[in-house]
């Protein structure tokens, strides 16, 4: 009896070890939870030349959160296509253009983000669209899509009535909830304006990064009315995307372009239409739209340096930006006069010329505004100084002649 038990245990142990060994080097699909269900499951990446300190990377997957997320219906292997063994240390970053193993319900075909990934690649943020040679710092999908548990946000809203209406016809409650959340979340803004500005500023306000890519850091935006309204939580005022990639005008953040590109919504050609889009500056004219700079680049400080250098006849590299802008305006103007623009037939060329005429030298602009501010600083100091002096004398005379006051 004892011998039989020992043999059984030995066989069981061998079978277990065999199955583990087999799964380790072959089929691991469906076993992700075996490890990733444990909170604290992760590694510490030691510091390298590129990484200044040790970094903890957690690989724990909360099942509830994951199933409630955008990708909750997708299997791990749909995205992590190169996982074929345990442990899997040297995985390639996920390609968001991979075909997913779910069907796109409107056409019943395999779903993929490929078209959006292609758009991004061709955009100013993509490897093809970026004008700079260094492509290493370009943003990837995950830099913007931080993949919050979006669906839980929607589920917290009072959607019971709407869901009940849907469930009248659609039998599967799970499907109804998923579909409702999918649509409902897209009806609402996914990020408020404050979050959009903070997200874009992550890179575009980084002076060092922008310098590296020959771009100007966005420094003047925080002092604009738009920024102040956003800081109060006003969602009607334009954030970065409302001007640079307005969905309402047929643009998309995935197809964002440089302002120098004629197709960009903030190009000189399209600015008027962008500024006067619905709920914004209705009735805006060319002079308002074409020379408006919501966030001046170069900023006020740089412009003043240029002005100072001009006075001292010192060449300044930052002045190249202004010269380039002026040259571009001249080129556009010349194109309009030559009738070489593609809108000559409907008289748009005339508009192009008109749009370029009310250009004021940004250095002169900055100097005037700086002068006014300085004037008020001086005048306020002088007037208040006089008032305070007069007041002090009055107090002194009152203290000196208390009886006079009491009489």
């Amino acid at each position: 009896m004892k011998g039989a038990l020992t043999v059984t245990l030995k066989i069981s142990t061998l079978l277990f070890l065999y199955s583990l060994a087999a799964s380790t080097y072959a089929e691991v699909e469906g076993m992700c939870n075996m490890c990733h269900k444990y909170p604290g499951f992760g590694i510490i990446e030691k510091k390298t030349d590129e990484q200044s300190h040790d970094r903890l990377r957690l690989f724990y997957i909360n099942d509830d959160l994951f199933s409630a997320s955008y990708h909750g219906k997708i299997r791990c292997f749909s995205c992590h296509t190169d996982v074929d063994k345990i442990p899997h240390n040297d995985l390639e970053p996920v390609d968001c253009g991979t075909d997913c193993h779910i069907l796109e319900p409107s056409v019943n075909e395999q779903f993929s983000h490929k078209s959006i990934v292609d758009d991004l690649r061709k955009s100013a943020h993509g490897a093809e669209g970026s004008r700079h040679e260094d492509k290493g710092d370009l943003p990837v999908c995950k830099d913007c899509h931080t993949n919050k548990t979006y669906h839980l946000d929607v589920a917290q809203k009072d959607a019971n009535i709407s869901l009940a209406v849907c469930e009248e016809c659609h039998v599967s409650k799970g499907f109804v909830k998923y579909f409702y959340e999918h649509i409902g979340y897209r009806i609402e803004k996914r990020r408020n304006s404050k979050e959009v500005v903070a997200l874009c500023s992550t890179c575009h306000a980084d002076q060092e990064l922008m310098d590296k890519h020959d771009l100007h850091a966005v420094s003047g935006f925080s002092s604009t009315f738009h920024a102040k309204a956003i800081s109060y939580g006003d969602e009607k005022v334009a954030n970065c995307l409302n001007c640079h990639a307005p969905y309402e005008e047929g643009f998309s953040p995935h197809r964002i372009m440089s302002w120098k590109d004629n197709a960009s919504p903030v190009s000189i050609k399209n600015k008027l239409q962008t500024c006067s889009q619905s709920d914004c500056h209705k009735g805006a004219n060319n002079s308002f739209a074409t020379v408006s700079k919501i966030h001046q680049a170069p900023d006020m400080a740089e412009l003043l340096t240029i002005a100072k250098n001009r006075l001292l006849s010192i060449a300044d590299p930052a002045a190249e930006v202004i010269e380039a802008a002026e040259a571009e305006k001249e080129a556009n103007k010349a194109a309009g006069e030559d009738g070489t623009t593609d809108e000559t037939s409907d008289g748009a060329a005339e508009d192009t010329v008109e749009m370029n005429t009310p250009f004021i030298d940004p250095v002169f602009h900055a100097l005037v505004v700086y002068g006014i501010n300085l004037f008020y600083k001086v005048i306020i100091a002088l007037i208040l100084g006089f008032f305070i002096f007069h007041r002090c004398l009055d107090l002194y005379s009152t203290m000196r002649n208390p009886h006079h006051e009491e009489s």
Binding site: Y232, G283, S287, Y376, I383, H390, S407
Partner: protein, 247 residues
């Protein structure tokens, strides 16, 4: 002392003037608060919590309403000083004259203890004239630049930026001048502690009248004397306790 000390009371501000002043100071307070909210830092904005967006919307609305109100009272004031006797008298007495310079020097000497008595000042002394005419300059600038910014879509950004700089600069100057120059001198002053009540009931006491407007006090008494003599001749007697300078 109080602004109303003395055996007699004189009319300093008529009801019409007090209403103009009231609309002006209420609008100014609202404009200052709602205007400077655009300069507030994030820490202040966060105090509004989830109401911040509504507060911002109300801020914008209140600023415009108060702007219209103060523009209307300015327009009315121009009509008032050109068409009414009371207004004309006010404007004429406000016109700067050479004597204001002498008053300034003599008053400074008095306050420094270099002169025994304060000079006899007119109905409006140099400081009040500076404040009054500053309001014309200030109002012209803030109203015109305010209109430009309100109709932003028709202006190039250069004009908007210049207008914004003037609007903010002038508003800052006005707010500071009102607090330091006007509020503390005219209201919260040892002469009239805790406040000069003329802006409420329009009256000024004889003591303050003599001290701050000695020349005007004498003018009023002269007028009153002439008036009494005329009345006596018409066998009309009066025991009036109040006098108006505009009579």
């Amino acid at each position: 002392m109080s602004s109303h000390n003395g055996t007699r009371q004189f009319v300093r501000l008529t009801l019409n003037q007090r209403i103009q002043h009231a609309i002006m100071f209420i609008s100014t307070i609202l404009l200052t608060i709602t205007g400077f909210m655009l300069q507030a830092d994030q820490g202040f904005i966060d105090l509004f919590g989830s109401y911040a967006e509504d507060v911002f919307e109300m801020r914008s609305l209140i600023h415009r309403i108060a702007g219209v109100a103060i523009s209307a009272v300015c327009a009315y004031h121009l009509y008032y000083i050109f068409t009414t006797e009371e207004g004309k008298s006010w404007a004429v007495d406000m016109i700067p004259r050479g004597r204001d310079g002498t008053d300034l020097v003599q008053n400074m000497k008095f306050m420094m203890g270099l002169r025994k008595d304060r000079p006899k000042l007119a109905r409006f002394f140099y400081m009040e004239k500076v404040e009054y005419w500053s309001v014309y300059i200030g109002m012209f600038l803030v109203i015109s630049t305010g209109v430009i910014m309100w109709t932003e879509w028709i202006w190039p950004v250069f004009f908007l930026d210049v207008s914004g700089a003037f609007h903010l600069g002038e508003a800052t100057l006005a707010a500071a001048a009102i607090i330091v120059g006007h509020l503390f001198s005219v209201h919260y002053s040892p002469h009239v502690y805790p406040m000069n009540r003329a802006f409420i009931d329009g009256m000024i006491g004889e003591d303050l009248m003599k001290d701050e407007h000695g020349e005007w006090y004498e003018e009023v008494l002269e007028k009153e004397k002439a008036h009494t003599e005329n009345s006596d001749r018409r066998h009309f007697s009066s025991d009036r306790r109040m006098s108006s300078p505009d009579e």
